[in-house]
Amino acid sequence: SQQGEEDPQALSIQEGENATMNCSYKTSINNLQWYRQNSGRGLVHLILIRSNEREKHSGRLRVTLDTSKKSSSLLITASRAADTASYFCAFYSGGYQKVTFGIGTKLQVIP
């Protein structure tokens, strides 16, 4: 299976704390992306990390990629209530451009 698996599937933290979500996959990839979905809204692209990169930052987001372990992590620092959403890892593999998604991590940030 090429499906990504997020860990944990649900996470509840206090505002100001850091949130870490992990994603594992089973095949070689071209790149890996993280998306966020707020309740009732569409998927919002957060960050893309290429297979030859190990770490990438964007604002309060930090993504790491370990291709030897076929895993990635998303760290959100100093979380805010507005960060409450579902987070999905997604990756491109093979010759076509379809994206394979994981089940997602549901993050709740308590004010």
């Binding site: 451009q97 379809k98 998604f101």
Partner: protein, 114 residues
């Protein structure tokens, strides 16, 4: 710049009826994708258009689903006849070019088949 739009936002139909979902990609994006998230499961790829041609339709579940993109602009996804297991959220995405570029997603259409 307008994002990807989808219509309707919600649809409730009875088993056996027909529903047509529409997606308008970002202007100028040749690549258009359909995905589906069934309740509690992962988001799954359905198909990929490059302009009006189907590049990859390996994710289409069965022949009750028909996707079109006449003229290479907006796309429709028709489910006929709808079954209970078709309930879920249908997402459309578009990207400017191939090669693993970022796909921009629409808000999704929530389909409930009773």
């Amino acid at each position: 710049e307008a994002g990807v739009t989808q219509f309707p936002s919600h649809s409730v139909i009875e088993k056996g009826q027909t529903v047509t979902l529409r997606c308008d990609p970002i202007s100028g994006h040749d690549n258009l994708y359909w995905y589906r998230r069934v309740m509690g499961k992962e988001i799954k790829f359905l198909l990929h258009f490059v302009k009006e041609s189907k590049q990859d339709e390996s994710g289409m579940p069965n022949n009750r689903f028909l996707a079109e993109r006449t003229g290479g602009t907006y796309s429709t996804l028709k489910v006929q006849p709808a079954e209970l297991e078709d309930s879920g959220v249908y997402f459309c995405a578009s990207s400017q070019a191939a090669g693993g570029k970022t796909q921009y997603f629409g808000p999704g259409t929530r389909l409930l088949v009773l």
